[in-house]
Amino acid sequence: MTSIISFLINGEVFAFDTLKVRNILEFDKVTWVPNTKNYLLGVINLHGNIIPIADLRMMMGTENAEIGQDTAIIVVSDDDKTDSLIGLVVDGVKEVFDLDEASLKESVINGNTGLVHTFTGSIFKNDEFIHIIDLSEVVQEIEK
């Protein structure tokens, strides 16, 4: 049984494996870094470490994503090293729950516009679809 954390991007619900998540922060001031990709908003100081921040909403194809009261940063790491910590900006964090793997369905992708194409799968819960994002693809995209 894996537990996952769900969050909102542009009205839709997505999720990550909780084991990859290190921190959840309120969106605060981000220091912009010049000469980087558009969706890289900059860096923040997290417990004395410099953590880059990527706007996952922009990566998913959302245009003019705004910063609201619920906007949050989910700090993840795909290999458990400080060096590979990265903060991803989402519209809001929803909940953490145990994933019933039997109910996992293949995600149906039909020509999306963003940079994220790989999903572990989708589940239908409380009248909505939750798509589980494959973190490694996101990380590779940012590192490219």
Partner: protein, 678 residues
Amino acid sequence: MIDKFKAKFVEESNDNVHDLEEALLLLEKDTGNKEIVERIFRAMHTLKGGGAMFGFNQLSEFTHHLETVFDLVRNNKLEITDDIISLTFESIDHIKHMLEVGDVDDEEELDNQQSFIQRVQRVANLEGAVVTKTPASKEVAVKDDGSKTYLIDIKPNEEILRNGTNPFYLLDDLHAMGIAKVVAYHEKVPVLSSFNPISNYCHWQVVLNTSESINDIKDVFIFVEDECDIAINEISAGNLLTSTELVNKIDEAARLQKPLVKDELAGLAASTSDSEAKKDARKKVQLKEHKISSIRVNSSKIDELVNLVSELVTIQAQLNLFAENDGNPAVLALAENIQKLSRQLRDNAFSISLIPLQSELMRFQRLVRDLSKELQKDIDFVIEGGDIELDKNIIEHLTDPLLHIIRNAVDHGIELPDERIGNGKSPKGTILFKAYYSGASVIVKVMDDGKGIDPEFIRNKAISKGLIDSSTELSRKEIFELVFLSGFSTKDEVTDVSGRGVGMDVVKKKIGEIRGEVSLDSEIGKGTTLTLELPMTLSIIDGLLVRVFNNQYVIPIANIEKIYAIDSVSFGKTFNHVVNIDSEQYPFIDLRETFETDLVNKGTEQLILVKYEDRKVGLLVDQVIGEFQTVVKPMGRFLKKQENISGASIMGDGTIAMVIDTNRLIHNNATKKYRTKN
């Protein structure tokens, strides 16, 4: 002064010895593991080189012999056996002893050492032969080696031979553990008519001197426990077999078939080895006292400490702000005290992990001096940038590679004075050691003005060593890279100084361990330059804090030449995009443009003139804020592509200022801009 070096050498060597022991233990479990053999070999090599350098000549000589053994193992000419391992363990103890006492001229000690060397040589001479158990050597008279003498009673029952057990193998095993004297008792053997060839009638007593533990001795009997009565008794520390009295007693026992009694032998021991025991005890005390003077802490713990302290300082700044706004004098006083404490704590935490390069450079100076004397070369060792501070951990990793590099420069690089004159050079060679910051990296260069290396020579050598194919096309740079391959060494003969193939591959490996890079360039007749690029994860740099648009940036002060207010310079309407300062023209980079910001506040900018190689380049910023001492942190793997920024600093209030790598920035820009020589 010399004592300081010696103490340092001893301290480091103790670590090396520790490493050696650890590796040896691993090897014992996995005798075929070449990596461990390499590790052992390197540790010995370092001990040897260091020993010769700091006047531990006997240590160096001894280690040399031991190293020979492992060189054979390394080259598959000798197989690792338990004997070699045991002997090496003993040798390690001996090395420890030598590190403690230094060179000695006490005859007894020297004899002791000679016999030890002979033993080691004997192993080395077994090259090629299938190594079986080394017979116990009778002439060896080791006294202070921590060995013990045991009296072992072996009384097999009559049935033992029926299981296929041959008691003689047990005796052989005991012989292999050290020096053994065996007395066989055969008084129970019946007359021939009633003699049963499958029954055992004998029993034995063995006086064994070994440094193995009593448990190891017990292990010998592990399969015959049920068929034998075994009694193992320690009778003395040290080698009692050197006592003629004991030998006589043993002979007598054999002649009279009257078993030895342990208490009698023990009494013998007390009378002969009293003084030695005292000596032993004294040595142990000295060892203990030595160990407390410094402790070694895992660097990750220090990193964590520094991180925590950084966080504390940040929070403390917030507290200060709050206290000032609050206006409560009690809170203010508290905040001030906490500020004082946290500042001290921060300084302390940083000072734990940072040391100036200078502290290590003295060793290199000494090395160059001694070595050039020995090789009859005349060499000037010039140091630039010795005040550069680096993480202690990095410096530690740096010492060995740098020793190798400098040794190489002295040994292979610089020519003999006559040769130099013949080549039209000054008879005195120069080795320049240069360190400087380049953004968040530290560059260390070792340049000699010696004979240089012929790329063609390297190529041929690599082909002959089978490292590359003779048809491989390689660029000049790639050829020099070959030097760092394992198994490549440009000098065939074995010298006391720079090794037998422990070469640049080790340097590369060591530097790689601290995420640094190493490269080599050379020109025939002009000299060789080795460049190390090192990260400075925790390094503090003196930086100039500037503002560009809404962001703060740090420019390393070491790179800065001068700062100008914008009205003192004129951007002439020139064709070549330069700025005129004091009747000189310089190229410049507008950081606001490079960083793709909106250009605001035009007219209030300041120009910072920085050094780049042999030129000067202006950087245009919005505002110079001031000088700061900052800790540079890495930006993580996701921002590695951003070459203009090499790291970031967390300011007192928790905000982030990015460190500009001016060298890269200018280099990247140089392709676009026109060059002007200053």
